[in-house]
Amino acid sequence: MNGAHFVVQALKEQNVTQVFGYPGGAIMPLYDALYDGGVDHLLCRHEQGAAMAAIGYARSTGKVGVCIATSGPGATNLITGLADALLDSIPVIAITGQVPTHLIGTDAFQEVDVLGLSLACTKHSFMVQTAEELGSVIEQAFEIATTGRPGPVLIDIPKDIQVGPSVTHALAKLIKTENTLNSAAIDQAKNMISLSQKPLIYVGGGVGMASAVNELRNLIAATEIPSVCTLKAIGCIKHDSPYFMGMVGMHGSKASNLAIQECDLLIAIGARFDDRVTGKLDEFAPNAKVIHLDVDAAEIDKLRQVTLSMTDDLKQVLPAITIKPNIEQWQQHVAAMKVEHECRYDHPGEPIFAPALLRQLAQTMPADTVICSDVGQHQMWVAQHMFVDRPENHISSSGLGTMGFGVPAAVGAQVARPNDTVIAVSGDGSFMMNVQELGTIKRRKLPVKILLIDNQRLGMVRQWQKLFFNGRYSETILTDNPDFVTLASAFDIPGETIVAKSQIDQALQRLLNSDGPYLLHVSISEEENVWPLVPPGAPNDRMMESIE
């Protein structure tokens, strides 16, 4: 068995069944080994697509996503995807071919210092130096990617190690240590919760990553403490939970942002006080003591000084801090704010109102549909107006905000969950950034549905130009977009364009009922904006709700 076959064997041992990638010179031995079968390889049409498909695979299942690329340009093309996985803490393994060991450092053909490149965009990275260490490197890579705060790990494998003989390696038995909670900290947390009059739970992506959704829901059900969530945590709390107010932050709901500003105790769970969440940090939750629960100790006191923190497994901590405070007045106040600031979907005229269309889609799509969003205004409308009841079903590039994410992420999710409906909601700008992945959809006959919200603009940037740059629309007008339905048809993907409210019902039915892939191209006005909006540098209670 050569090194490349050994890698495939090791992937199987890690229960990897599907990988995404693109071949090339320095990774050819691995592709030769994949040719023998055992692990299903999906050819994406750009390494960035492969990395994002691996992310979609991981996020829709909680498993590790694997992507593969050749040296040099193959590896550099992966980088954006790895950065995306790093900022959203997604367990992804990237395997790259490298020029043979004796050529490293000679500026060989397609040689790039991939380890050097990876340092800023992975949790960890390896360059395999000898055949002996190949096995332990792969094992460590999976361990690092999945434990603590998850993240992407890169393994760079020189070609000579792929073709050379492999050295068998006994899998080390990993000893899991049972953690015991600090009972003094637990008591203090319970004490703080029972003394508080206006407690608020602020849920971040860490809850889903820790598989602690049930524990969170139990905590919320037992304590009836009002709650808000971040973009990445959408789905963790059932959307119709009584005191759940939706997303917080720049485009969060008004009720969420006001509740944050008013609360006297903020219980941050798997959240990291990101600037898109906090607005002006000094004025975020100004009256609150903070309990911060996060597995990553480096997040504690990074941006907000907290009163109490615990870095234990959320599955253990959340049940332990459960205590019901006496907060009827606060609950009533929160419930009233929620009603007062509810989204409205009435909209004049025939042109399509994207928030209402997305709402309707959420109401009609099958249970357990996976929504993969691209980046821009449409992404915020998805977050605000669609409801999803599992974090695995709302896949949105949250930390990096990577345009081009939606379609390849949907490819990965569809491969991982072949029996569930997967919908990519994209924008006309974002769609063009990884449009080549339509080729992957065609090649693998994936029934991915694409809802393309077309405002003929880089809408989110345009919105800022309108609000903060005197309406100087520098390079955001895309009236020269291609004919998207024709474009999709070149990949055998049927589709249609709609422009009026009266067309929505039937078009959504055709989208959802199609056996294969489908493109629903929705033309909307460029004047629609995302509201509310916390302007940059403002505290969260100073939201703009319209143009003035």
Binding site: L115, G116, L119, A120, H124, M127, I144, D296, A297, A298, I300, D301, K302
Partner: protein, 85 residues
Amino acid sequence: MINALTVEAKNSPEFLERLLRVCRHRGFTIQSINAEVNNTLQTTQINLTVFSERDITLLTKQIEKVVGVIEITLLQQPENIKVSA
């Protein structure tokens, strides 16, 4: 503020590079640095002083996360505090 710290880590060709990147990216400029490999233990010990307006724990907590770090000791404090064991 200037702080002095000692980082002991499993030796690897790129460890120093990782450490330097974390320092720079997190807003700490290096005032002095000395690195020495212990071939018997296969470890490397790096002594460095860093300058930043930011709290030093923002750096030490990030360094603790770098794979291979065995121990960080913060020196210029009232007494030596072991940050990790």
